[in-house]
């Protein structure tokens, strides 16, 4: 009887801790979305019950350049992922299938880009970008985003290639396929789910990038992470608009995360944890 009580108490305790953490993790997101519908006048004297309004969305999306920042963010993030996929996937294939000198050194060099302090890269790059005229351009940002998207894609996709049995390739070779035909027609379709998920995760990382766009762009190109700063910095009392800016920047990522759920662990750990 006593043991049973202890068991029940343990179960309740465990679930209580989980509920507490879940509240901590999810309440801020709920609160953010909630107050996007609150008018400025209701902000101070209401908590959960109020008359919902869309005026904050109107103000942010139609009366400021926030929507332009949203589009810019899509352009640079998608552009960066596209470049990384086109040149990174063959590189991942080479690392997975060929045996060549300095292979692991090359792989770790690419990985080390992820750990280099962004400010260290930015300071000299700021100067060079201004000299060669790519400062504050889509091209410049897409280029520097390779430091975020390329290591991720190369390392994760390499793992997916390694999971495919070499025998499949041998069989294809016997059938007269050339190596690049094997790559395009046999391997790529096999790793497609993993590749798409890695690309989407790379997109999320690029989308969330802040330091690069803050310091390497100014008026022409602006991302939502940088544009949202205006709402932090100003002494405005438009908290509802601040919430809209955050919601518009955050929700696409949450939806993408739901799509790639199954492959998330593998991507987040750069292929180290297969999940």
């Amino acid at each position: 009887m006593n043991a049973h009580r202890l068991h029940v108490a343990g179960k309740v305790g465990r679930n209580l801790l989980l509920v507490l953490w879940t509240l901590f993790a999810l309440f801020p997101i709920f609160w953010m979305v909630l107050i996007t519908f609150k008018s400025d006048s209701q902000m101070f004297n209401t908590t959960f019950w109020f008359n919902p309004t869309f005026e904050n969305y109107e103000a942010v999306l139609f009366k400021t350049d926030y929507f332009k920042a949203f589009l810019d963010n899509i352009i640079v993030s998608a552009g960066a992922v596209l470049v990384s996929v086109v040149v990174g996937v063959p590189a991942a294939y080479a690392l997975a299938r060929f045996d060549f000198k300095k292979k692991e050194d090359l792989a770790f060099t690419i990985l080390s880009f992820k750990f280099a302090p962004e400010i260290l890269v930015i300071l000299p790059l700021f100067m060079i970008y201004q000299k060669i005229g790519v400062y504050d351009s889509y091209f410049g940002l897409i280029w520097v985003y390779q430091l975020i998207t390329m290591p991720l894609l190369i390392w994760v996709v390499r793992g997916y290639f390694e999971d495919v049995s070499v025998e499949i390739e041998q069989a294809a070779k016997l059938d007269g396929y050339r190596w690049w035909e094997i790559f395009l027609k046999i391997l790529l379709p096999l790793i497609k789910p993993g590749l798409v998920s890695s690309a989407l995760l790379a997109f999320i990382f690029a989308w969330n990038s802040f330091t690069f766009p803050l310091l390497l762009t100014s008026f022409n190109v602006e991302t939502v992470t940088v544009a949202s700063l205006k709402y932090i910095a100003s002494d405005t009392v438009h908290y509802g608009q601040m919430a809209v800016a955050a919601t518009v920047a955050a929700l696409p990522e949450v939806i993408l995360a739901l799509i790639i759920q199954k492959h998330l662990v593998r991507g987040l750990s750069f292929g180290a944890v297969k999940g």
Binding site: L26, W31, V87, F100, E118, I119, L123, V224, A250, L258
Partner: protein, 317 residues
Amino acid sequence: MDKKQSVQGKRKGGDDYLTSLTQVHWSVKARPYFIMAPALLITIGILYPFGTAIFYTFTNYSFKMPTWKFIGFDNWVNMFTDIDFWYSLGVSLSYAAATTIPQMLIGLGIALLLSRENWFTRILKVVLVFPLMIAPVIATLIWQLMTNTSVGILEKFLNLFGVYGFPWAASSKTALFTAALIDTWVYAPFVIVLVSAGIQSLPKSPFEAAKVDGGSAWFTFKTLTLPMLKPFLYIALIFRLMAALQEFAIIFALTKGGPGNTLMNLSIRGYTTGFQFMKFGQSLTYVLVLWLIIYVISQKLVGKYLLTQKQAAGTDS
């Protein structure tokens, strides 16, 4: 276990094929380098400035002035004799500790709680990842809405407990706590996700054996679960620690290093020195030191990780 061996068997069979790819002709030998060349060119193009960074620390280069000259080790001497540098180094280290330690503990704890399969934990494993997907800057924005003293919900919440006007990021006493809270909100899910995957990959039989032997829960955890989770914990630790040592976005969005210089870590000081005081050469010394610290620690940890991975594989078979 059988599965693993069969995979290895396949690998062995495939070796002939792999060597056939690399031992034939020079053009075949050079092929992997050609395939990798574009990826390397693009990233090394970005890393070239890294080399120039060291060069510029020996100059008085400034964004303000058109000319510059060599000043030898002046920037380095200035930095090491400047108390602000040592203070910033301390901030970087204490920020890393104040974020990484709670995140690892919470991550392990929540992952263990989630290890029981039921409908509740299945849903939680999906939704608890959400904060991790949100940009740190945006997360800071969200928390500023929450901690705002006039409209913030947390003020109302604390009022229930008789606490009024908790200063959050506005006071030097609570700024580090606030930043670490936001950092943990964003990144603890990273540890949770990784360790959860680790727990799921654990073999069942040792745990059943321990149950039969009547080992206590704590004993099982200490002697079985924890050692087997080590590789996963190391991966989480490496990723979190490296990022926490150089955190920029959360601190910048929260206080720009303030109040005063409370949260002025090496990244923020490098930014301030370079982009606000325009002392380019000097700013690079700060971030180079930061890079060196990160490099040394990551080498150590990666080495340890590879070791635990070997050990785990050893006890596995």
